[in-house]
């Protein structure tokens, strides 16, 4: 075996330059081509992930519905939750930016992989936070509907329904729809996200674990 490897080494060094050489101009042109590296993809996907959950809150139709007349306490607590939410979002975005900037192709292979995984982990925690917050909002609305009639009446179509169906029945139905709907949508979002995350980093994680295991 060793002999064969030595044979291979000799041959390898002899035929090193066998690939057709690229000219100065051919190499020069490559400098301006777009990179298709995993880091670039992670940046694009992460920015989308950082922005998308917030777009939902910024759409005008949702903004109008946020504050409910006659339910001041409900509105105030809602504002407080939103404030905390945005503070955490800003924290995550700055953390993401700092870690992204740390990625350097000049690191050794293991560190480079670790840096990339760290950036992705930041986004992963951010997504887990967003998904949890969506459940918090569902719970908050559910409590609102349960304790405050104004919250239930603020839902489109409910005031008309109240004339036909008993109020408590409507309340129970609204609660169930909200809770089950909220959980199902959050679960679907989580599945899509973790599938994407897994596919993107599968190869990198495998290589990283291989290097990591050596040092154990």
């Amino acid at each position: 075996m060793i002999d064969e490897l030595e044979l291979l080494k000799k041959d390898w060094q002899k035929k090193g330059g066998q690939h057709p050489k690229l000219s100065y101009d051919e190499i020069y042109k490559m400098l301006w081509k777009k990179s298709s590296s995993i880091v670039k993809w992670i940046l694009i996907i992460s920015i989308l992930e950082l922005i998308l959950p917030n777009l939902v809150y910024l759409s005008p139709s949702i903004r109008e519905d946020i504050f409910i007349k006659g339910a001041e306490d409900f509105n105030n607590y809602y504002l407080a939750i939103m404030a905390i939410y945005y503070i955490v979002v800003i924290y995550f975005i700055s953390l993401f930016y700092m870690r992204y900037k740390e990625i350097s192709v000049l690191e050794n292979a293991k560190n480079l992989m670790a840096q990339i995984i760290r950036v992705r982990t930041t986004v992963k925690y951010y997504i887990i936070f967003c998904l949890s917050m969506s459940l918090v909002f569902v719970a908050y609305y559910a409590l609102g509907i349960y304790f405050n009639d104004e919250v239930l009446l603020s839902i489109e179509g409910i005031p008309e329904k109240v004339k036909e169906v008993p109020f408590e029945k409507i309340r129970a139905a609204a609660l169930w729809i909200l809770i089950i709907g909220g959980i199902v949508i959050t679960a679907i979002a989580a599945c899509i996200y973790f599938l994407l995350y897994g596919l993107l980093l599968r190869k990198l994680k495998k290589n990283y674990n291989e290097l990591q295991q050596l040092d154990l």
Partner: protein, 164 residues
């Protein structure tokens, strides 16, 4: 100033392009994929070039960037249209000058190396390039002892591939 930097970089890369070609040969299966990886490595080298301070030789610096790109950054699907392995085509054309058993042996070895995983390929590549264990360890970020352990495992693995 920028033009000067571009010129310096392209000239250096033109003179040392063999290193990149060798990495591409090891990590891709056909000419298109080879050229694609070559391009990505060039882009990464160029992006990192302002940080190259000339403390080491340009070629030494290239090994790290080229391997990092091939192992970690490059994400194009490698399972592109299965074409004939052009490296072995080149090899066959040249092989007439060689003794037939040696040729056969070498071809088997090249094919065996291609079947290795990304990390194993990197180790073998640096070994074939006559890098010592210290440099291999630094490039991959593992200890020298582990480079030795890993090299032994790769040799065993190659043996299994060659004598199934």
């Amino acid at each position: 100033m920028h033009k000067e930097l571009e010129h310096k970089f392209v000239t250096e890369l033109e003179n040392n392009q063999n290193i990149v070609h060798k990495v591409c040969t090891l990590y891709t299966n056909n000419r298109d994929a080879h050229n694609d990886l070559f391009q990505e490595i060039t882009i990464q080298l160029w992006k990192a070039y302002p940080k190259f301070r000339g403390e080491s030789k340009f070629s030494t610096w290239m090994y790290r960037v080229a391997l990092n790109t091939a192992i970690t950054l490059y994400r194009k699907n490698k399972r592109s249209i299965p074409t004939q392995d052009y490296e072995s085509v080149i090899f066959k054309i040249q092989a007439d000058e060689y003794d037939a058993t040696e040729e056969q042996q070498l071809r088997l070895m090249y094919n065996a190396v291609r079947q290795l995983g990304d990390i194993d390929k990197a180790l073998i590549f640096l070994y074939l390039e006559d890098k010592d264990y210290t440099e291999i360890a630094e490039t991959l970020g593992i200890t020298e002892v582990n480079v030795r352990v890993k090299m032994n495992r790769i040799k065993t693995r190659l043996k299994t591939i060659l004598n199934p």
